[in-house]
């Protein structure tokens, strides 16, 4: 995975709350067996409306999306993250995220920054006029309007993002511990018998 430290550029002032994964990528586009190419279907329904935010020239390929509360709720489809990334979004700033969405984002090197609603309101008001920058090292969002907002982020996730770590590779370094767990669980009777298909 590509390491990320700073993401800067246009931020789409979207702001909508409870944006579910069906809005981000409708189910009919989940028939793909690949991770790429979903960008053109991202927010399909919203983008079919005249004069929508996403199709304005200045927002095309904007690396940051500003959204409302509970972003990415709904299904576990990682296609939502792939679609956003494929349309150019590298980071989402919102008051809160669904647990599954923020986990999926993280695993693809996409940054999710949680900031209070009042800060989001300020960002929404100023984003259209300039740029926004997210700095993982400084844990701060700065803007061309002169604002600076610090944010919290899970230390492990922050480190992984900044180092571009492959989580599976990392876990496989604990293979000895996994072997030991399986042996011990088997003994205690916790280890589940194999799944058998008749």
């Amino acid at each position: 995975m590509m390491p990320v430290t700073r993401i800067a550029g246009r931020a789409i002032p979207f702001g909508q709350a409870n944006v579910d994964t069906d809005i981000i990528i409708p189910a009919e586009h989940l028939k793909t067996i690949s991770r790429v190419g979903l960008g053109r279907f991202a927010f399909e329904t919203l983008r079919s409306l005249p004069d929508n935010l996403f199709n304005r020239p200045e927002n095309v390929e904007a690396p940051i999306l500003i959204a409302g509360d509970n972003f990415g709720c709904g299904s576990s489809r990682e296609h939502a993250v792939w679609a956003l990334m494929d349309m150019g979004v590298r980071a989402v700033i919102a008051p809160s995220f669904s647990d599954i969405f923020s986990g999926n984002a993280f695993k693809n090197g996409m940054v999710t920054v949680a900031l209070p609603q009042a800060v989001i309101d300020r960002l929404l008001a100023t984003a259209a006029q300039g740029w926004v920058e997210i700095d993982l090292d400084a844990q701060a969002v700065t803007t061309s309007a002169g604002d600076r907002f610090g944010f919290d982020m899970d230390a492990f996730r922050r480190e992984c993002l900044m180092e571009g770590r492959d989580e599976i590779g990392l876990t496989l370094m604990s293979e000895g511990a996994i072997d030991a767990y399986e042996a011990q669980a088997l003994q205690l009777g916790w280890q589940m018998t194999s799944a058998r298909v008749a």
Binding site: D22, I33, D99, I100, K107, E167, I168, G169, R196
Partner: protein
């Protein structure tokens, strides 16, 4: 020993490694795989030259994308799938399970069905296990006392490669409901009422444990309906402590342990309950007597109202954001503020999905439909059993004939109109009374309008052609 919650007990039993910041490498006992969220995970394994660590703890079943029309011809040969992208996704799953040696129930097998129906039915889902699947409604398996949650495709790959996940413990939430449910009130109504109270994000970061006499009295199938929708309140998992009913439910299922292993595990399952004195981070309490048959009016799961209620006035909400959302939802749904819910006409009926497609659900709907016909206004009424075994059981009981006599289509198992991925869709602008679990914009097809309700209520709506209080139809 410090008292622990059920969640903590299952968690502690699965910790492989604990990191200083509290993150744990957690062992995963059970992994369900389907065609939609797995292709990129297998591709990732291939690219990195990795194997599947424990194929024997994995089970693959296609469900989301399979057509619900017949899959085999009378001569036994396979019907081709019309949509090339769907066909390719199913073929990819078949190739992947063969290449990686994963147990597989194919789309023609009698045991095929929706992953969350198949898991418990086969005894693949067991109390006290950790169970994951690349699907958010995996929470359902918590009904049996499994710590079960939905994961994304990267995590699917992680579990395939390592049989573990790296996780931070969740906060715990108790949802307590006591008392008897009134006539016509079902587990679906209970969970819709709970989400109405909690809000669509009220459970975020939490694992819910359902407690109280209402749940004690509920069947395992009813508990599956409740646990299934935990995610709609934002909670990744919902748990029920296994009791004698759970153990009896699991006993004798094809993949359940037997003999000495069974005895040992059942003994452990009996210790899996929240200890006296253990505390939850949050708690809500509802009284079963206050719960009416419940329906959704909007496009978020907290847009719920008792059947006796009305479409709300957006101005009645305190928060500006909620007001705006309600206004949008009412416009999308084509409703008027103040309209009684029972005045809302429907054209489509869907009885199915991993929330409500088990035998008890079909019995409840058939009981309402028996001797009745769907209303002239209904354009399509579908019953999609959750699995081939549910379908056979229903046919043995004659339920299929009740449905078809009433004017319903009796289909092959799958996700179907729950998510509008296969050809079963609600046309744009049309309204559907649906027993599924999501009323999102475009969920059942672009522009589709969804009202969620119980199987009995869906049957009642079919008969009258509008959203109906099933209690008025009582025979």
């Amino acid at each position: 020993m410090t008292p622990r919650t059920l969640y903590q007990k299952i968690w502690d039993a699965h910790v492989v490694e604990r990191r200083p910041d509290g993150t744990c490498l957690l062992y995963i006992d059970r992994h369900l795989v389907h065609e939609v969220t797995s292709p990129q995970a297998f591709e990732g394994l291939r690219m990195a030259g990795r194997r599947v660590r424990r194929p024997d703890l994995t089970l693959a079943v296609p469900d989301h994308n399979v057509p619900t029309t017949p899959r085999v011809r009378p001569d036994g040969s396979r019907m081709p799938i019309a949509d090339p992208a769907s066909a390719e996704q199913l073929a990819t799953l078949e190739r992947n399970v063969a290449a990686f040696g994963i147990p597989f129930i194919n789309d023609r097998a009698a045991a095929q069905g929706i992953v969350h129906v198949v898991g418990p039915e086969q005894g693949f889902t067991l109390p006290g296990t950790t169970l994951v699947c690349g699907d958010s409604h995996t929470a359902a398996h918590g009904a049996l006392g499994a710590l079960a949650f939905g994961i994304g495709t990267s995590e699917v790959e992680h579990v395939l490669a390592t049989q573990t996940l790296l996780l931070k413990p969740s906060r715990t939430m108790e949802v307590r409901v006591d008392g008897d449910l009134g006539p016509g009130v079902t587990p679906k109504d209970v969970v819709l009422a709970i989400i109405g109270r909690l809000g669509a994000a009220g459970g975020t970061g939490h694992v819910i444990e359902y407690r109280g006499s209402t749940f004690d009295a509920m069947s395992v199938e009813g508990r599956l309906t409740v646990a299934n929708m935990s995610i709609e309140a934002g909670a990744r998992s919902g748990l029920f402590a296994p009791d004698e009913k759970t153990i009896a439910y699991v006993a004798g299922r094809p993949m359940a342990p037997t003999g000495a292993a069974w005895e040992r595990m059942a003994a452990w399952w009996r210790t899996l309950h929240t200890d006296e004195g253990a505390t939850f981070d949050a708690s809500i309490v509802l009284d079963a007597a206050d719960i009416a048959p419940t329906v959704t009016w909007g496009t978020s799961l907290d847009d719920v109202v008792p059947i006796t209620g009305r479409v709300p006035d957006p101005d009645s909400f305190a928060e500006p954001a909620r007001r705006e959302a309600a206004r949008k939802a009412i416009a999308y749904m084509g409703l008027e503020p103040g309209m009684p819910m029972t005045a809302v006409p429907v054209k489509n009926i869907f009885i199915g999905s991993c929330t409500n497609s088990r035998i008890e659900d079909l019995r409840a709907a058939a009981a309402v439909l028996s001797g009745r016909r769907v209303h002239d206004r209904i354009r399509q009424a579908l019953v999609v059993p959750g699995s081939g075994l549910v379908k056979r059981q229903a046919e043995a009981e004659g339920l299929d004939r009740v449905f078809t006599a009433a004017g319903f289509e009796w289909r092959e198992p799958g996700c179907s109109m729950c998510l509008g991925m296969n050809p079963d869709k609600v046309p744009a602008g049309e309204r559907c009374a649906s027993t599924s679990n999501r009323n999102f914009v475009g969920r059942q097809g672009p522009g589709a309008r969804t009202h969620l309700l119980s199987p009995a209520m869906a049957a009642a709506a079919a008969v009258t052609g509008r959203i109906t209080d099933v209690r008025e139809l009582a025979a």
